[in-house]
Subunit: 456 residues, 2 copies
């Protein structure tokens, strides 16, 4: 398909350095972090600098019915930004506008900024942008919008959509809409801002974002508890969530603990079945009090060790162990990462079932979880030189999804469906909801050129 | 139109007591609290008891291309539930399912429950449903979903959409979809749950709702400050929001203070230009500390009186003055209620402009405001026996909207567009966003039978 489209009109309309057709450079835009082996090669990459540039590119693509893959930082884990053969990749990496307004506690940002850059800019004004995916230093805010990204603080502070007040979006026909704005309450018309958050580039390309900010987070108190018994750790999670709102409530299983300890030598307990990392950011005395209550809950469930601190540096070190999990696991083999979530009371069933699947398929499955919201990342660790293991892992991957659905769960809590999870989407949503998704998609993108094969 | 449709198949399929065709009883379903003089008379009212009943009614209406007006408690202030001539009203008042699950901190509720009933049921489990429209004792949770209702605590705790995890919706063709569920994080498919919250019954009829609950709110400390100067009060609001997150930040102007004092004789200061009612629900000592800091800010802006209390009963009394505002104003005349919002730094310009409009049109305009989120309720107080005043008031109503739009604001912060605000919707959204709204509407309701004339 790519060979048949004459790109010269596009080259004439955009700055030459915005349009990449060099085959070597184009390779760099084929994959995201999911490394989809089925990724195609783009015919052209547009590194847009403005909303107007995106409009030019979209109009060209629409005129030629050319598939368009929107791309942020390429840190996606579900293949939502992997290229389609002969497509146009529209990269927003250069759209790095940034303006903070302390008086409205809002930020206007370009999609190409990293999540960490938004956090840092807010922080200079004594403000805070809460959503904190583990990848916050190398994931873009545009990508966060596309997937409705979550993170560690979501258990108390919600996910990306809760902080999006307005969006500028280029639609499939190249027209542009400005939705919402710096107003906390606004119910005029359908809630379209929300419709685009989590739509994975299937309905339009976000070129500007108005974010709601909070006053700076208070210093958190931190607790780490290890358990010889996984069920005891999960029971503790439920004890906590039923009555308190910690600002972090994370779980690592034995395999993950081992991988982090191999990597970082922090003195973690390799004998533990599970470790909880918990923070409270309540005001000074109250945080310590809440952490103390949580410590008592851990002990009453038989925790083997409970350590707490209100020293931020020491607390950050504990959190480092959790944040390092994926990177440490990557050093053990090729990863196949899940992102399944269940209603909290089913968390134990999910983890027990995953252990059964790991045993039956003879694959290592490490589990890290945003336990407080039932969102887990079972991570299959593969020996890249063992094709038979890769096949067993693929089977296990599907079985984890089926298990999740049988427990009333979701196949993606925060990473998105992308291209990797799409085969299972209808199993979760059912045909009527799939039909509703398609109606919306067809209304906004009648030629199906926006991120085909991804999301919905 | 109504005369030509044979209702007997509908009567045969539903319980007789669910179908109201008696002309006297039908009258009770013509208006909501906006008392739209243009309201028509329904041909039939279906008081559905279940999702299946709503499906039967919708299928009948779809087959006959009959307009359908969904109705909750009829407490709407924008005419979103006022009847269309010859329509079918589908009332959800009898759908009062209620189940609380403390372990997931969720509630499954029928749309017919009052907001206050959901709050009370949550409270029995030590839990809290935050959204608190002033009408919480007589507005239904289904109506709250339809308008994405706000309230007083939203300045800290967000609006209805922030608490909706799942919806069961009957679509325009009578099919039913279950969206989301009791999972805090779920990004599978388009974010359709969010699309229905605030859609004012134009896309489907919500028959079941999964709500997220929080642990019980802490006892709040309360502060009331009066100001001889309105600008000083507004300046104080901005001082507070730039650095703190009070759980309530309300403003009443002199006219409102006078009306409440006339009604309740609470000893309010009739000389004041404005009164702020502020709460902090931070943990014990911290709330008192925050209220003290807020008190200092009020005094530095020249407040004439600052009274604070951490006694809940005394605090509730102060809040009563604010909550009574609308009812007290109703005793002064017929009301025409606005719901306009602006970015916070423009709040002073909005209130100054409203005062100018009141003077120019010689009408009384009382202002109560959820000041902390820039959402205001300028309330025109009319002498029902003076038709000339009614005409001037209508002009003033339109001028307030135009003023709001010139300040980058919204014509509705929390009440919805309904039928009353629809003439101004395109002025706010612009033609491109209107077209996008219509595309979605047409995709989901191709015959335009769902709440025609309302919302979008």
């Amino acid at each position: 398909m790519s060979q048949t489209i004459d790109l010269s009109p596009l080259l004439a309309e955009l700055d030459p350095d915005q349009v990449v057709i060099d085959p070597d450079r184009v390779q760099g835009y084929r994959w995201d972090r999911a490394e989809d082996p089925a990724a195609g090669t783009p015919a052209v990459v547009v590194r847009a600098g403005s909303t107007a540039d995106v409009q030019v590119a979209m109009r060209f693509a629409a005129a030629h019915r050319m598939p368009v893959v929107p791309r942020g930082a390429g840190s996606g884990l579900s293949g939502g930004a992997s290229a389609v053969e002969g497509c146009m990749v529209i990269s927003t990496e250069r759209m790095r506008e940034l303006a903070i307004d302390p008086s409205t506690r809002t930020a206007v940002v370009g999609p190409g900024l990293m999540n960490a850059e938004v956090k840092a800019a807010a922080s200079e004004h004594g403000l805070w942008y809460p959503p904190d995916p583990s990848s916050y230093e190398f994931c873009s805010i545009g990508g966060n919008i596309a997937t409705n990204a979550g993170g560690l603080c979501c258990v108390k502070y919600g996910v990306t959509t809760d902080y999006v007040l307005g969006l500028t979006v280029v639609l499939a026909d190249g027209s542009v809409v400005r939705l919402g704005g710096p107003r906390v309450k606004d119910v005029a018309g359908l809630p379209l801002t929300k419709l685009f958050v989590g739509s994975e580039g299937t309905l339009g390309i976000v070129t500007e974002i108005v974010l709601r900010l909070l006053p700076k987070q208070r210093r958190a108190a931190t607790l780490v508890a290890t358990f010889a018994d996984l069920d005891a750790a999960i029971g503790t999670v439920l004890d906590i969530t039923a009555r308190m709102r910690p600002s972090m409530l994370e779980l690592m299983d034995a395999t993950t603990i081992g991988a982090v300890e191999d990597d970082l030598r922090m003195g973690l307990d390799r004998e533990a079945a599970a470790m909880l990392v918990i923070q409270s950011d309540e005001p000074a005395g109250t945080a310590a009090e809440e952490i103390e209550q949580i410590g008592a809950l851990c002990e009453s469930r038989g925790a083997s060790e409970v350590v707490s601190t209100d020293d931020p540096d020491e607390g950050a070190m504990f959190v480092t162990a959790r944040r390092a999990a994926l990177v440490s696991l990557e050093k053990q083999g090729r990863l196949l990462l899940e992102d399944v979530g269940v209603p909290l009371p089913r968390l134990g069933d999910l983890l027990a079932g995953i252990a059964d699947i790991a045993a039956a398929r003879d694959v290592t499955i490490a589990v890290v979880a945003h336990a407080g919201d039932g969102n887990t990342h079972p991570t299959l660790v593969l020996d890249p030189s063992d094709p038979a293991m890769a096949e067993r892992a693929q089977q296990a991957y599907g079985e984890i999804i089926e298990l999740t659905l049988s427990l009333g769960g979701t196949i993606s809590g925060e990473h998105g469906i992308g291209r990797l999870k799409r085969p299972w989407l209808a199993d979760q949503l059912g045909e009527d909801v799939m039909a509703l998704n398609r109606k919306i998609k067809e209304a906004l993108d009648p030629f199906g050129i926006l991120n085909p094969g991804a999301g919905i």
